[in-house]
């Protein structure tokens, strides 16, 4: 890397400050800028792509992408696609700094659950009309990239949470998967009666993930995290219900606050020390390894959509998306790359190579995906998901919510007080859009 010039350093400093400010202030979206952005989103033709496309992605699902897009490179011989894979934990930091310095890639991967800070015409180009069929994707994943009806990202892979449980123990206990909140604790107790030490292996990080879980339960109870006017609505009876529901797993003895950390979660499940997980689909591919036996998962595990609260079985949507940066010098080839990656056939190839579940609904009909019966519950759930609030302060609020969840689960604070506390905190932060 060449030495940065003085101008470059100044630009980096100013840009980082500006981007940080934009991130903190909900990007300062103006109606004029949005309208202009929409007007500049020209359609992309079918001619072969040319030039170089620099792609940045987080390590993980993108590790295999270079191989997956081989047909794209073959059909577009004059294009060079250069991948830069960055460790997950540093990804957004590096991307933010690069964008601020004007040295970002042409195409970047984002996460629909935390991409709000980037959805701005000064950072990303609007998705050109007709590039993809927005109705082909799971709704909440597409919606996560929308600001004032302008789409900035195209979904790539999808995941959500569902119930993953020990089918053998459920059969022994003579119970079926719970379908409502009221069924949950009796189900866990039945699994315990069938030999499990705990019915539920609960996540006890007391962090952003616990906050997200409870946000999901609040939706199931009929609540909303933001009002239609865009202000926080966390001190609600629905949030109180959600906190109590989550705490009931611990107070009933179904789950232990001394459950294992993530390193032990799967060995515990395989050994029967826990019998249920509320988790994502990636776990399914890891249980055979934990059991050290091929076919263990198929013989011992079942999945089910999350039990419904008074407002149904809602989960959250997450995964990966793609955006083309405003500073890109090769937008034509960049969009052609994004279009290719979002094709159902490419998404099936990506699933076969890495297990990334398609964000395009029709790709789930491909035999490679369809022949996996344990994924059915995740497909059902993905059709009933919501996106987390697309505001700059959501991650801070969810992290704090995770800490409040701990106090209720351990009985040191009532659910009502915790809800009031999280509302006061969120209100003091704002949404970043004020």
């Amino acid at each position: 890397m060449s030495d940065p010039s003085r101008r470059g350093v100044l630009r980096l400093s100013a840009g980082t400050a500006l981007l940080g400010t934009l991130a903190l202030s909900g990007c300062g979206r103006g109606d004029t800028a949005t309208a202009t952005a929409k007007a500049t989103a020209k359609s992309i033709d079918d001619k072969p792509a040319t030039g170089t496309v620099n792609v940045w992605a987080a390590q993980g699902d993108a590790d295999v992408l270079d191989k997956v897009i081989k047909p794209f490179k073959a059909a577009n011989p004059d294009v060079t696609v250069k991948f830069t894979l960055i460790p997950n934990a540093e990804y957004y930091t590096k991307l933010q700094a690069a964008i601020a310095a004007g040295k970002g890639p042409d195409v970047a991967q984002f996460f629909p659950e935390s991409q709000a800070q980037f959805l701005d015409p000064s950072i990303l180009r609007p998705v050109p009309d007709g590039l993809v069929d927005s109705g082909a994707f799971f709704t909440s994943l597409w919606d996560a990239g929308l600001v004032k009806d302008v789409a900035y990202t195209v979904p790539w892979y999808a995941y959500t949470y569902a119930l993953v449980y020990r089918a053998d123990l459920a059969k022994k206990a003579g119970v079926t998967a719970p379908t409502t909140w009221a069924d949950m604790v009796p189900f866990f107790k039945a699994l315990k009666g069938a030999g499990a030490v705990h019915g539920l292996g609960a996540d006890n990080g007391w962090d952003i993930f616990n906050g997200q879980d409870v946000a999901m339960y609040a939706w199931q109870a009929g609540g909303n995290l933001l009002s239609s006017g865009g202000s926080w609505t966390l001190d609600t009876p629905e949030m109180v219900d959600a906190l109590k529901y989550n705490a009931s797993f611990f107070t009933s003895g179904s789950a232990d606050t001394a459950t294992p950390t993530f390193l032990d979660a799967q060995p515990y499940f395989v050994s029967g020390r826990t019998a249920t997980m509320i988790t994502g689909p990636w776990v399914l591919g890891q249980l055979d390894t934990a059991a050290k036996k091929t076919g263990w998962t198929a013989a011992h595990v079942a999945t089910a959509p999350l039990p419904a609260g008074s407002s149904g079985s809602v989960s959250f949507s997450a995964g990966g998306t793609w955006g083309v940066l405003a500073d890109s010098g090769n937008t034509d080839a960049s969009w052609k790359f994004v279009r290719y990656v979002s094709k159902p056939s490419t998404q099936v190839a990506q699933y076969s190579a890495y297990g990334s579940l398609p964000a395009v609904i029709s790709a789930w009909d491909a035999p490679a995906v369809k022949k996996q019966p344990l994924l059915d519950a995740f497909l059902t759930q993905l059709k009933n998901t919501k996106a987390f609030p697309q505001v700059g302060t959501w991650q801070q609020v969810a992290t704090r919510l995770g800490k409040e969840v701990e106090t209720v689960a351990k009985g040191t604070q009532t659910a009502e007080k915790a809800a009031a506390s999280i509302q006061a905190y969120a209100k003091s932060l704002g949404t970043g859009a004020e």
């Binding site: 202030s25 300062g28 950390t261």
Partner: protein, 303 residues
């Protein structure tokens, strides 16, 4: 006296040349100090007197001057008061424990096992130079519900708790990591102090019939007072600012039982409360200053 023979003008020229050279050597440090310590400290003092929040960075001129409001809010915040108490526990338990282990090992290395001193010094100093993130990950794994510690306890028929999830047990584990990381520094400093004590003093005392305990009490300890002062101040400042250990092991949990003032400052900053965060960091600075001055006064060798 030779200086009186040098003409005043030449002396002044030489002095100013020396001063310039001194400044030249000081310049790199001075620049770094100004940029990364002095200016941010002054800025933080300014921020602490305003209601600055993350979202205000867009309109810095619209920030209101709130005087001591942030400080008043801090001392009305039960979380902050709890964190001051937690930090006090870190200091009250961590400092004496680290010093005692460091001193005991230094005495042992200085007397009984001189031939293997190099080896032991390296072994005991290793935690000081080991990457704290890697160490914290290992400790986290060792102390979780199914971790190494509980597996060892299971061998003797004991069911171990989930150490880092219990508000009463997490703090001892976090302090233990701090002690483990720091006793090597204390040991090396005490060892240097012990080696500076002249042998003939001990020989004279031995001839007068003083046993090992009397030698330790009446020779070693008084002569080691300057070293003790330095070690205690260093460790107190470290434990007052303790951050890595609670951040990496527990992030201040469970239920805030291991959150230090530094971690409070960090969490406030992360949630965009820049004014409050600056005020908290200033309170910590004053606390460190106060404790250091008191220690210097109490432990200063009397001449």
């Amino acid at each position: 006296m030779t200086t009186t023979l040098v003409p005043a003008a030449r002396r002044r020229a030489r002095n100013s040349r020396r001063t310039a050279v001194a400044w030249l050597f000081l310049a790199p440090f001075a620049v770094v100090f100004l940029l990364y310590t002095a200016i941010p400290t002054v800025a933080a003092l300014g921020f602490s007197l305003t209601d600055l929040r993350g979202s205000d960075l867009r309109h810095p001129l619209a920030v209101d001057f709130t005087g001591l409001d942030n400080y008043l809010r801090l001392f009305q915040d039960p979380t902050f008061l709890r964190d001051i108490l937690n930090t006090g526990v870190f200091v009250a338990v961590g400092v004496p424990l680290t010093m005692a282990i460091g001193f005991a090992l230094a005495v042992a290395l200085n007397s009984g096992i001189r031939r293997l001193r190099g080896v032991f010094r390296t072994v005991f100093f290793a935690p000081v130079v080991t990457n704290v993130v890697a160490v914290a990950l290992i400790w986290q794994y060792a102390f979780n519900a199914g971790g190494t510690v509980n597996k060892a306890l299971a061998h003797v028929g004991l069911a171990g708790p989930n150490w880092l999830d219990d508000p009463h047990l997490a703090m001892p584990v976090v302090i233990l990591l701090g002690v483990w990381r720091n006793f090597g520094t204390a040991m090396v400093l005490f060892l240097a102090g012990l080696q500076a004590v002249p042998e003939d003093v001990y020989e004279a005392a031995a001839l007068d019939g003083a046993g090992r305990w009397r030698q330790l009490r009446h020779i070693t300890l008084p002569l080691l007072l300057p070293t003790t002062l330095m070690v205690s101040v260093l460790l107190t400042v470290f434990y007052l600012q303790v951050f890595d250990e609670p951040y990496l092991l527990t992030d201040g949990g469970p239920l805030g039982s291991t959150e230090s003032v530094s971690l409070y400052t960090y969490h406030q900053f992360g949630s965009g409360q820049l004014g409050m965060s600056s005020a908290a960091s200033f309170v910590m600075l004053l606390l460190v200053l106060l404790v250091s001055v008191v220690q210097f006064r109490l432990l200063r060798p009397r001449t």
